[in-house]
């Protein structure tokens, strides 16, 4: 009987094991680079202080704008987190870098859009709409049902992908990455053929308000501020509970540390892998529906969200949920601030905002090559 691992003895043992492996890995590096590390730390701290000081000055200049920009960053981060958490979950357990994650994101959005248009388009309302005939209005079900169905379908697509293409070459991580790249090329082209090249978006339920009034007389989009942020928090909480408190989560955590040992203990690893792929892909599809409502759906978004997921998990450390949250927050805030505040004197440098993202990535990797919470594979 594969009884659950005793959690009371599990935690401390895990901690000590981690400390020793860390020490082992760092030992040869530490002595050589300790001298070099201190000035590097000082430089990075100075940069961080300068950035925070700059933001404080900007906040003092126009607090309302600063609030809106910050909220933009946080909500963007929420979306990044939803997508990247699926990516990091799959990698953490299976060492599979799912390069088709962005394609699953976009496919989820497109499927929901197609369902919304074909199932919930209410022809009787035509002509009654005051805002113009093109704006079809949808009820709550017209958004929720496509969300749920599309999310589930993408989860199944992910499982199918894993079972057909990835299961039999477990452990060959480069080959698996190449396979998912091939799948992403095919999916991107097929989506272009099916859904066209024009940017589209999913309509939010018309019963929802467009914006909410926050203290300080700040108006912010309801969907962005409440729905996206709320879903991200909920998903983060759910994942945390599942990973930390359930048997499945325990197996996943054990699998991250030692896959072979878990299999030897009599646990059906293939089932767990399929489950993790289901959840990971579902998160991409869910993110696609949120992103399709919040931003838009267009060819190229798959690339954009693959890149975002990559940066988030590279910053946060592959396979770490907390790392994904912090990485997403860093990326979202940097994106939002750089888009607005990169103006020095009269020169507008907002074009160069991508360099700030790059600097963030380089800064983190310079100090921690495996990301903030990364551990050696």
């Amino acid at each position: 009987m594969p009884g659950p691992v005793d959690s009371s003895s599990d935690a401390p043992r895990d901690e000590s094991a981690r400390v020793t492996t860390d020490a082992l890995v760092e030992a040869p590096e530490a002595t050589a680079t300790r001298a070099a590390r201190t000035p590097r730390r000082i430089v990075l701290t100075a940069i961080a202080v300068a950035v925070i000081g700059f933001l404080v000055v900007k906040a003092a200049e126009d607090l309302r704008q600063f609030t809106v920009v910050t909220l933009n960053g946080v909500t963007l981060a929420a979306l990044y987190f939803v997508v990247a958490s699926g990516f990091t979950l799959i990698f953490g357990l299976m060492r599979v870098v799912n390069m088709a994650h962005g394609s699953l994101y976009l496919l989820g959005g497109y499927l929901a859009l197609r369902m919304q248009e074909s199932w919930f388009k209410d022809d009787s309302g035509l002509g009654l709409s005051l805002s113009g005939a093109s704006d079809t209005e949808y009820g709550l079900a017209g958004w929720l049902v496509p969300l749920i169905v599309a999310t589930l379908i993408i989860g199944l697509v992910g499982v199918a992908m894993q079972q057909v293409f990835l299961r039999w070459n477990q452990g060959q991580d480069l080959r698996q990455a190449l396979i998912t790249i091939a799948l992403s090329v095919i999916l991107a082209d097929q989506m272009l053929a099916e859904f066209g090249g024009i940017s589209k978006d999913i309509a939010a339920p018309s019963s929802w308000p467009t914006s909410v009034l926050l203290p300080g007389d700040v108006r912010f989009g309801f969907f962005r501020g409440v729905v996206v942020l709320g879903s991200a928090l909920l998903i983060g909480l759910l994942l945390w509970v599942v990973i930390k408190r359930t048997r499945f989560g325990k197996i996943v955590r054990a699998g991250v540390d030692d896959r072979d040992m878990v299999a030897v203990l009599g646990i059906n690893v293939n089932l767990v892998f399929a489950g993790a792929f289901f959840i990971g892909a579902m998160l991409a599809g869910f993110g696609g529906v949120l992103g399709g409502t919040m931003i838009s759906l267009a060819p190229g978004q798959d690339t954009a969200f693959l890149l975002n997921s990559l940066i988030v998990v590279i910053i946060g450390g592959m396979g770490s949920l907390g790392g994904a949250a912090i990485g997403a927050l860093a990326l979202g805030l940097v994106d939002a601030y750089a888009d607005v505040y990169l103006v020095i004197g009269d020169t507008d440098l907002t074009n160069y905002s991508i360099l700030v993202t790059f600097a963030l990535l380089v800064g983190v990797l310079a100090v921690r090559p495996l990301g903030l919470f990364g551990r050696p594979a």
Binding site: A182, V185, I314, N351
Partner: protein
């Protein structure tokens, strides 16, 4: 994580014959074929060679090569006379070394960051670099023009490629041969051998006193120089460069070329490039139209499926297929020749397909 690497080479006489054949190609084929197939596959091959060099000898599968060749191409296009960009109107011959140096410096920086990670992390970090380069050039229109940089000035040596593509073909051919010979020679030097040691056993190399990270960084910078050559050749070929031509799709195309040819054999770069250019041009004529799913407009689906099949069946690419066929034939001949199974070597026919976890 690396599949068993076979960095052997086709025998020199075969390669020499190929080069001679390539040298007389302008007499044998039409101008269209010379331009669209041969010249294009030569420069695509140089780009793929920089990727294969890192993968085969350094064990680093880098997706940053398109980003780096984009940097070189954009630098070149900005420095010479062109429509769009800064159009500094330098002499093209002066702009060539400048572009290579800029790409080399960027490559050194990328390498410094990426070289400390390994395997799949390396792949992801370099992919992020490449896409960041694309986003940089698509945002900064001062450097990339609004519709890309067009009518880029090229050296007078190339003549007028629209009328006579042969000079440009020869220049590209010479560059490709130099890249191949140079990289082959490099793999036999102390640096190249050290790099292969770093690939196979980094811990032992460190124990021997090698600075593993520096070795990998330098190899990466070196590959950046090769990528820069490809970037300049691509600008000479297209006479223009746009951010769209260095995007993720192109990054993946170069990877596809390298994988189709054979990720662990240098000459695979040009074999893959030739296959890619042929498919690119002629698939539209014979691919059947299946609704929206397949047809002349769905080139990416076709190339994606071919890529998928190659990765699934023969990770050694076309060269891997050729080698396993040759080995199988050889074994059959040996068996009929009566030498028996006593000489059975430990399964060379399995080739790189038997990749396992390290």
């Amino acid at each position: 994580m690396n599949p068993r690497v076979s960095t052997g080479r086709l025998p020199w006489p075969v390669l020499a014959a190929v080069v001679v054949l390539a040298a007389i190609a302008p007499l044998l084929v039409s101008d269209f074929f010379l331009n669209v197939i041969l010249t294009k596959s030569l420069w695509l091959g140089v780009a793929a060679a920089s990727l294969i060099f890192l993968a085969a000898y350094g064990g680093m599968v880098s997706l940053a090569q398109v980003g780096l060749y984009g940097v070189a191409g954009m630098t070149f296009a900005n420095l010479v006379l062109a429509d769009g960009g800064s159009s500094a109107a330098w002499s093209p011959w002066l702009a060539v070394p400048a572009a290579i140096v800029v790409a080399g410096i960027v490559g050194l920086g990328f390498g410094w960051i990426a070289a400390r990670s390994e395997g799949i992390y390396f792949l992801m970090i370099t992919l992020a670099f490449s896409v960041l380069v694309f986003y940089f050039f698509s945002q900064v229109t001062q450097l990339s023009g609004f519709g890309g940089i067009n009518n880029v000035d090229i050296p007078g040596l190339l003549g007028n490629p629209e009328q006579d593509p042969a000079p440009r073909y020869y220049v590209t051919l010479i560059a490709a041969v130099l890249v191949f010979v140079g990289l082959s020679a490099l793999s036999r030097t102390a640096f190249g051998l050290g790099l292969q040691g770093v690939r196979d056993a980094p811990a032992r190399m460190r124990a021997l006193g090698f600075d593993v990270t520096r070795h990998r960084t330098l190899a990466f910078a070196l590959a950046a120089l090769i990528a820069a050559v490809a970037g300049i050749l691509s600008v000479w070929y297209n006479r223009r460069i746009t951010p769209g031509s260095i995007n993720l799709a192109q990054t993946i195309d170069i990877l596809i070329i390298a994988v189709i040819g054979g990720l662990y054999r240098l000459e695979g770069a040009w074999i893959g490039a030739l296959a890619y250019a042929l498919i690119d041009n002629y698939s539209r004529e014979w691919v059947p139209e299946v609704g929206n799913v397949l047809g002349p407009a769905r080139f990416n689906t076709l190339i994606g499926v071919i890529f998928l099949v190659i990765v699934l069946l023969s990770p050694g690419g076309l060269i891997g297929i050729y080698e396993s066929l040759r080995d199988r034939m050889g074994r059959r001949r040996r068996r009929t020749g009566g030498e028996g199974g006593s000489r059975s070597s430990p399964g060379p026919e399995s080739g790189p397909a038997t990749g396992t976890v390290s």
